[in-house]
Amino acid sequence: MKPAAFVRHVPKTLDEALKILARVAPQDGRVLAGGQSLVPIMAFRLAKPAHLVDINEVEGLDKIAHDGKTLDIGARVRHAAFHKSVVDNPLGALLSEVARHVAHYPIRMRGTFCGSLAHADPASEWCLVAATLDATMVAKSMRGARAIAAKDFFAGIMATTLAEDELLAEVRLPLLARDARFGFNEFNRRAGDFAMSAALVTYTLQDGKIGGARVGVGGAEPCPRRIAEAEAALNGKAPSDAAFRAAAEAAAHAVEPLEDHQTTGEYRRDLVRAVVRRALEQSTQ
């Protein structure tokens, strides 16, 4: 379990990083952020990048900023940054609730928010957040910068639409309405493991009725996504056990479940049903 040989580059500026990335990308050159996914994969020799562009010393990428509309998370921001609320908005509380489900404490001290998105594990909590809230990814390369909507970003299990020479420089999460409610729930077999299913919900109440419902499901399909059928089951209804169950049922029905040697599709649907309902229940507490 020793990685194959590689060359590590340690640029100090974004420009330098993009230049090196453009040069080494054709030789399977990759960005190294927190290393909490990439390094194990290299140790298993599932990946053998010849070059690593280590962005840990690149200036300016460690910022969390907000302009009243979005929360902008730079490429060096670690999971642990969200242990406490980073913004005076329900989004801050949402992120810190979710953060403690990401891996274990030591991993949260190194792993990055943007790294999780670039890695695109189907069960990643941050990917679920990005999909549910319709985040915008800002990709930069020597060719320029572009913004990618969440629904166009995830392209399959551990696959995104980032080009090889692109750095995910920043992720922009829309701030939530002041009175937004949210709930999160995930199922895994051991504390800190990747979720076997996870759900994130947000909505607001207008005259006691749910409006603008977002129901995101992760870990159940190749990519996390919003489940329109579940959202439809909620909008216009008062929060109630029956409404939550109907939405959970709709989500369980809608997913195309991933299967593996221990997890049948039927079981995965059971989990989706459970996590969606529980996330909804949590939203009322």
Binding site: M1, K2, P3, A4, A5, F44, R45, F187, R189, R190, A191, G192, D193, F194, E249, A252, H253, H261, Q262, T263, T264, E266, Y267, R269, D270, L271, V272, R273, A274
Partner: protein
């Protein structure tokens, strides 16, 4: 010299003193095999397929790649049993033309670094003509199954049978029959430190020192010398700090033989450190058993007769030294457990398959048989409409010594008392009330009991009864007071985390009147320690502790003799305490340091009546003694997801005299953590082609601290008559009882659904699948089309 803990006059035995081994370990001063520098590093090329003929092993240009064809004259590893129709099958150190499991060592790449060796290993061209494998033991019993070894037709490597004389009549006369088909999936002991070896050749003597992660250094020396055909005196085996073994490190790793061979060939140092993937696929497996158990009860719910059929999937080879008989034969002998009945019929088979070789893992067989028997008891309780505690009350042994249906003699134990203690401490009525209240709120709590006996500290006759060619058992301790007055015990046991340096020091301290920190316990080096069997099978404190006590009593006698000369007093008037010998009731005394010095340097004073020096030997080979315990688990099952959370775990336990309560509790805690892992999480999964789907610690899931509940321990101390320290072993009990208690609790939580969870681990997937078959389960209608 630092100041020593002042003797308090209290006995050391029975006190929870801190472990003498820990300061080094917790300050990063431990020394482990992988810390050693080496000139050459080895990477093992392993079979990627479960069965087939090797067509080609192509080495890249200039690379050093060793294969079976290079190992001329090296014998196969062939452990032996002289009973039970055992078919000796040999394991070539590197696969010799045929591969029999995924992960089998095929070639050894030698390079200047670990990284370089791994790079070259990737380039080795290994072509295997695949044949259809047998993965499942029951399938491997089919008449048309592929044959794993020609020496074992039908893939049955051993078969044990036993039937008491009046069995059939007793069976026919029973009132009710209860049966269970239970089993355990495969598990891996998962020591924190995987296996590692380092062999260094010494040009001046021609000897090789093999440093490795073993629980049995002397036996490794014997085995490797046998296989390589070299004098044992040319090999030194050292077990430095070893990061957990749990049985996995008592079996001979073929890789170690390769290392010693290479060190002699290259006249240099050669090292190998296994990675976690290798450990999970090839580092020995355990627990893979399918058991059918039927109990015949009388009208008062008393067990009259037990019938069992045990099939153990032993994997591709037989492990050395215990042989693969260790699981099925222990199941056969110890299935009767703590229950009082006379009639027993059993059959136990070991079945070869194209899977990793099975070897002992903490608890050996008993986690599985206890689980099976305790499931049977719970089912019987239901069949008779009795409480699960009541059925056990009616059946537990309470007269001693007791001879079991198969002829094992149990010394005095407290099966009933520990049960009653556990029931009281857990407050069963209060739990039942809480359980009802929780159920009314849609929550499913359950309680599970497991009562069991744990055979520990058994000497060579017990192993001889299995027909083993190598019968471990006895231990020798050489105890020296050196001229500086310090005490050194050299022992044949090989502790690797159990705290034996501390507990043996406590035993010695009480005999010779010095503080434990003056006492060094030396182990794990065949050049320094006397021949012995290492540490496994809950034996070391009983057997090595007994040998230690014998040696210490002899040293005590000698010190008293020396003191009586020096103090000119009758031996009967001498007391040894606080580091000195004193004439009782006077202030006349001489320090042990002074006596020791004189015993070496002033021998003329003893006029030939006392032999020079102070070195005594103790050897002990006891018959064995049975510990016992009652484990209780309280769980909550989430019926929507099938997830089990263990809320609380309680143990009432009797391991005879407790030498160090803190260490004893630590042993039980660790065992329970492993037992909970076995009950809920850990499973090696093979696909049909024999590939392992759980080759990392994300997929093979040992519990983390967060899966382990608070554990409450209660002790009863029944001094053992079969152990001279009065102590019984307790190293394995934690993981023997836990799976049964946890899974019984799951079944209790789900009792209204009439589902039966008889498989370990009881994963959420399995629980949910069982619930789905129950008409009583509410959710999960839609979404499945």
């Amino acid at each position: 010299m630092t100041a020593h803990t002042k003797g308090s006059g209290l006995k050391w035995v029975g006190r929870a003193i801190r472990r003498l081994e820990d300061p080094a370990l917790v300050t990063g001063q431990g020394r482990f095999t992988a810390d050693l520098p080496a000139v050459h590093w080895v990477r093992i090329v392993r079979s990627p397929v479960a069965a087939g003929k090797i067509a080609k092993i192509g080495a890249p240009d200039g690379a050093t790649v060793i294969a079976a064809t290079d190992l001329k004259g090296v014998k196969k590893i062939t452990p032996m049993l002289h009973k039970f129709n055992y078919k000796p099958v040999g394991q070539p150190v590197l696969a010799d033309g045929v591969v029999r499991f995924v992960g089998e060592p095929v070639a050894a790449v030698v390079a200047a670094s670990k990284e370089a060796a791994e790079d070259i290993a990737e380039l080795v061209e290994l072509t295997v003509d695949e044949t259809a494998p047998e993965i499942d033991a029951l399938a491997a019993l089919r008449p048309d199954a592929a044959q794993i070894h020609t020496e074992a037709p039908g893939n049955v490597i051993l078969e044990g049978k036993f039937k008491t004389p009046d069995f059939d009549a007793a069976w026919a006369g029973a009132h009710k029959f209860v049966s269970v088909e239970a089993g355990s999936h495969r598990q891996n002991a998962t020591p924190m430190e995987a296996r590692a070896g380092h062999a260094a050749y010494d040009a001046s003597t021609g000897r090789v020192t093999l440093t490795c992660t073993t629980q049995m250094p002397h036996l490794m020396r014997t085995a490797i010398a046998d296989v390589l055909g070299m004098p044992e005196s040319d090999l030194r085996v050292v077990a430095p700090d070893v990061g957990g073994g749990f049985g996995q490190k008592m079996s001979l790793a073929a890789e170690y033989v390769v290392l010693v061979w290479l060190a002699r060939k290259l006249k240099s140092s050669v090292a190998w450190t296994e990675d976690r993937r290798e450990n999970l696929i090839a580092g020995f497996h355990a627990r893979d058993q399918a058991i059918t158990l039927e109990g015949a009860f009388d009208k008062d719910a008393r067990l009259i007769a037990l019938k069992t059929d045990i099939v153990a999937n032993v994997g591709a080879y037989s492990c050395f030294p215990t042989t693969c008989g260790v699981e099925p034969l222990m199941a056969m002998a110890e299935m009767p457990g703590p229950y009082d009945f006379k009639h027993y019929e059993t059959r136990a088979r070991g079945v070869l398959t194209n899977t990793c070789t099975m070897a002992p893992y903490r608890g050996v067989s008993r986690p599985v048989i206890t689980f099976t028997l305790e499931r049977l008891m719970d089912k019987a309780a239901k069949a008779f409409g009795l409480d699960v505690v009541d059925i056990r009350r009616r059946n537990l042994i309470d007269k001693f010594p007791y001879t079991s249906a198969i002829g094992l003699v149990y010394d005095e134990a407290t099966y009933k008392q520990t049960l009653e203690m556990a029931v009281k401490e857990i407050d069963l009525p209060a739990f039942r009330t809480r359980q009802k209240a929780a159920r009314a709120k849609g929550r499913h709590l359950g309680i599970g009991f497991a009562t069991f006996s744990e055979r520990t500290g058994y000497g060579s006759p017990a192993f001889a009864a299995r027909g083993m060619e190598i019968t471990p058992g006895w231990e020798t301790v050489i105890l020296t007071v050196d001229p500086s007055g310090f005490v050194e015990a050299r022992i044949g046991s090989s502790p690797h985390g159990q705290g034996l340096r501390t507990t043996l020091a406590q035993i010695i301290a009480d005999e010779i009147g010095v503080t434990p920190d003056l006492i060094k316990v030396v182990h794990g080096d065949t050049d320094r320690a006397p021949y012995g069997w290492g540490t496994f099978a809950s034996r070391s404190l009983v057997i090595c502790g007994g040998a230690t006590l014998i040696a210490a009593q002899k040293v005590r006698a000698k010190l008293i003799k020396i003191a009586s000369h020096l103090l000119e007093a009758a031996p009967g008037d001498i007391v040894l305490e606080n580091g000195e010998a004193r004439v009782a009731g006077t202030d006349r005394s001489v320090s042990i340091a002074k006596m020791a010095r004189e015993a070496y340097t002033q021998t003329h004073k003893f006029k030939g009546e006392i032999e020079p020096g102070i070195t005594e030997t103790g050897t002990y080979d006891p018959p064995g003694t049975f510990s016992n315990a009652c484990h209780v688990a309280i769980v909550e099952v989430d019926i929507e997801t099938g997830r089990t959370t263990v809320e609380k775990f309680l143990v009432a336990e009797d391991a005879g005299k407790i030498i160090n309560p803190m260490i004893a509790d630590g042993q039980v805690h660790g065992g329970i953590a492993q037992g909970i892992g076995n009950a809920l999480l850990e499973e090696i999964v093979y696909d049909e082609s024999g590939g392992i789907l759980t080759a990392n610690l994300a997929d093979y899931m040992p519990p983390t601290a967060r899966e382990i509940p608070p554990i409450e321990l209660h002790h009863i101390e029944t001094p053992s008559t079969e152990s001279i320290t009065k102590a019984k072993g307790l190293g394995e009990g934690g993981c023997i009882g836990a799976p049964a208690a946890v899974i019984n609790a799951i079944n209790d939580a789900l009792s209204e659904y009439n589902v039966q969870i008889d498989e370990m681990p009881a994963t959420p997937q399995r629980i949910r699948a069982a619930l789905r078959t129950s008409p009583a389960v509410v959710p999960a209608k839609a979404g499945t089309q």
